[in-house]
Amino acid sequence: MKFPVPHDVKAATIPGTEGWERMYPYQYQFVTDDPVRNQYEKEMFWFYDGLHYPEPLYPFDTIWDEAWFLALSQYNNRIFMVPPVRGVDHRMINGYVYISPVPVKNPDEIGSRVPHFMERAGHYYKNWDDLEKKWKVKMEATIRELEKLEIPRLADMEDLSVVTDAVGESKGYHLLKNYDDLINLGIKCWQYHFEFLNLGYAAYVFFLDFVQKLFPSIPAQRVTQMISGIDVIMYQPDEELKKLAKKAIELGVDNAVTFSQEWTEVEAALKKLPKGVEWLTSLNLSREPWFNVSTGTGWFHHDRSWNDAMNIPLNGIQTYIQKVKAGVNIERPMEQVRAERDRITAEYRGLIEKEEDRKQFDELLGCAKTVFPYVENHLFYVEHWFHSVFWNKMREVAAILVEHGIIKDVEDVWLLRRDEIKQALWDVVTAWATGVTPRGTQTWPKEVEWRKGVMQKFKEWSPPPAIGTAPEVIQEPFTIVLWGVTNSSLADWAKVSEVKDLSSVKEFKGFAGSPGIVEGKARVCRTVEDIRSLQEGEILVAPTTSPSWAPAFAKIKACVTDVGGVMSHAAIVCREYGMPAVVGTGHATKIIQTGMMIRVDGSSGAITVAR
């Protein structure tokens, strides 16, 4: 399969964006002035990480990309010594991230890594549950530290206590230091993120692989079903909404909760009712930590949490109140999910002919079930809880930059790299200390305006799905399980650019996420705010879904997403509700428009559009 040469893609600079490279770390650039590195870049296979980055990255948001660049790679290559793979290398073109798994080529080196891997990975697999408990303690301590972190404002005159307590440090110094602490906590949190993830994915992907070797026609969704029905905390935010809906009915304040779609109005009304105050107390208990769930993936500054956008959870609570009053059972059908899981597992197992394969099936299934909760739960701790608090701390930093004239608006801060923010803070605190005007007040606003224009042009650009030279074999577990790099996906990627007119497409395919066939009216929801317009019995078409979308699933009869695999949120929830899902279609939200009649075949992954 032929893909474009990275340097040719990069050389075709979008007019008006010349010099965009300064918005990102220098090591992310494809180079032409270093022959050795240039040759390496040409020989590697780079694929666009559309799974995490459906849009170009803002300079500040690059923080999480760098964080996992380091963490994933170090665990593979320096800590667990995964024999045939090193890390995953990163590059960037026009704000889009391209990644490439780096193999260990020397067979002797691979061999020498084996005993280390067996010892190290073996330790984690063997002590998984204990180590996972320790992980939670570390993670919660990190989040608490973050919550407590103060971003101080710079007063014209320092407080008297600085003198009387003989503090010996100024707020200017604290601002610099705490900004560093903030960034370091973020990086640390991502160190923990990958502590279990590489091994978790490996256990999961090779269980999948094993079962697919036994049963070449088994849909991946059926393998994931074998590890379903395990309680994970990603469902807890949605459970809280159900609890609050029932509580509202129980206290007789359901009318006050449902009379308006505006949270501020609802809250004011509830405060006037004695029972309403009681309900608000329950709500506040639910909010920490569960309303830290992000309305997006949590990866981007614009992903706000429920706590930031209370209309969203309010809408969910209102949906559940209506359901309960209509006599609908809103509990997740866990008993059925588990019974069906056990039936399917037993039937497949019964078809395995060889005793040693049955034994290995049991072993790998047990291992996959052990790692599964972590693979799901880390998302809440890191991408949702930590990130939601983190973005708001960063907005506090931004407010100080606004106050001192470096940027015009809090939301401008994302156009600066985090090291540029550090420089700007130095500019601010030295000028504050000295009593002069920061230099950046003249330079940054102009630069920010220019960068905004560049970002807009980047958004309009379509990144090629892959560049460079496709390898024969991929051994890196994330590349296989998370990004779904397979022979057929490569072929699809090679084809993607051929589709010109999306409005004429009548049939397309994605991953079969959850079985069944339904026909119905489509509702395209680009953000979680849009789910308010969902009507009962429609088919949800979304870029991707996350736990904050959960209430939508109580209304719809099928779901289609642009991004995600059989382990994605939409696929898992649809399997629980027993409704069809087709996920990872690439372009569903562009091909389908609200109101169109579509047919979703969740067993084969086919979508048919009536035009």
């Binding site: 399969m1 995964v82 024999p83 045939p84 793979v85 691979i110 084996v114 891997f117 067996m118 990975a121 073996g122 697999y125 490996a202 256990a203 090779f206 692989d209 094993f210 070797k213 036994l214 049963f215 070449p216 026609s217 088994i218 849909p219 059926r222 399917i344 039937e347 497949y348 078809l351 002919e353 060889k354 040693e356 394969d357 034994k359 290995q360 072993e363 790998l364 047990g366 291992c367 496709a470 390898p471 024969e472 074999v473 991929i474 051994q475 577990p477 296989i480 790099v485 397979t486 022979n487 490569l490 079985p515 069944g516 067993s603 084969s604």
Partner: protein
């Protein structure tokens, strides 16, 4: 109510019945009624919907051969033949076959077959019910000794005279040049060959085909593969058309794959001649799915039950009858053990390889990686 003409007609407990109903036999009655008929009897008794019918047993066959005087003559006629002297075999085959086909059944046997046929017509509520007359060999369809298709099948046979005539043609098909040559080559004694003839109500198939209780492409036991075309199954069995192809998950009974092909040929019955005829499918129907989703699921359910009953993968012929209402219109015409993948799998190494623990398997899989191009 198996019948032995040597003792009292209609005696049920006879040791050597010459005729019997299909439901009276089980799968281990191969020596009595051959592979096909014993399998049909087994299916009926397993609760599978099979068109009703009866069989001329191997005793009936032996008696006919004795009566016709052929059993004495044949050894002389076959003596000294070598398996690759096809010209000589062809001559002998022709002589033996015409000897068989021209010789009438004895009055007693003719009467007995006619009586079974009449009772079948009454059961089906169709006067002179059209039947399929097919040979059911004792050595055929056995795992590992598959020479299926070496004997003949005659469809849409109606009326006693035609039934008797085609019964003799089935018997004579045991002596085609190919069959003789095959037996010589395999060292199979001709005098030990026995045959049964089955008479089974024709299913008036709206659509028909075959079903494997594994994926014939990769041997996957977790799926059922179904091939279908409009009309009788002949077009599918013979490979004359590319049939519609469905893959159904055996465990969850949902359709995983569907391929609708352009099907230009349909076998249907000509009601004037009561014969199966090959016709061109009307253009507008050629690309239409030939079996509806509900029927596909029901077929898969039946396939799963049949496999469970036999405890092995099966190769099944089926039809959807157009004369009967939905819910009772799907029939199984034949079921035999699938041999290709069953045997292949026995010889294959375990997927687990040498790995005995999950950790070993993860390591060896990491080392191998995933092939992508």
């Amino acid at each position: 109510m198996a019948t032995n003409l040597n003792t009292a007609a209609g005696a049920g407990s006879s040791a050597a019945p010459e005729l019997c109903w299909l439901e009276e036999v089980r799968k281990d009655d191969v020596a009595l009624v051959g592979g096909k008929c014993s399998s049909l009897g087994e299916l009926i008794n397993a609760g599978v919907r099979v068109p009703p019918g009866f069989a001329l047993t191997t005793h009936g066959f032996a008696r006919f051969m004795r009566d016709a005087g052929v059993s004495g003559e044949i050894p002389f006629m076959l003596n000294g033949l070598v398996h690759d002297d096809l010209e000589q075999i062809e001559l002998v085959s022709r002589d033996i076959r015409s000897m068989i086909e021209e010789h009438p059944f004895s009055w007693e046997m003719e009467d007995a077959i006619a009586e079974y046929y009449r009772r079948l017509s009454v059961r089906c509520m169709v006067p002179a019910v059209p039947v399929a007359v097919r040979s059911s060999a004792t050595a055929e369809d056995l795992p590992g000794a598959s020479f299926a298709g070496q004997q003949d099948t005659y469809l849409w046979i109606r009326g006693v005279d035609d039934v008797l005539h085609h019964a003799r043609r089935c018997i004579s098909s045991l002596f085609t040049a190919r069959a003789i040559s095959y037996r010589i080559r395999m060292g199979f004694p001709h005098e030990e060959v026995a045959l049964s003839v089955g008479f089974q109500k024709m299913a008036n198939a709206y659509t028909a085909g075959v079903m494997f209780t594994c994926n014939p492409g990769n041997g996957d036991r977790s799926v059922i593969a179904i091939d279908a075309n409009f009309g009788f199954g002949e077009s599918v069995v013979s490979g004359e058309v590319t049939p519609d192809h469905f893959v159904v998950n055996k465990i969850t009974l949902d359709i995983l794959e569907r391929t609708i092909s352009c099907k230009e040929i349909t076998y249907t019955v000509d009601f004037e001649t009561q014969k199966s005829v090959r016709t061109e499918t009307p253009f507008e129907r050629q690309n239409v799915q030939s079996v509806i989703d509900e029927e596909i699921i029901e077929l898969a359910r039946m396939g799963k039950a049949i496999e469970k009953h036999y405890g092995r993968q099966m190769d099944i012929e089926w039809a959807v009858d157009k004369d009967l209402p939905a819910g009772g219109n799907i029939f199984i015409l034949q079921a035999r053990p699938e041999t290709v993948w069953s045997e292949k799998r026995d010889k294959e190494a375990a997927v687990a390889g040498k790995a005995t623990s999950a950790m070993d398997f993860i390591l060896s899989s990491l080392m191998t990686g995933k092939k992508v191009s």
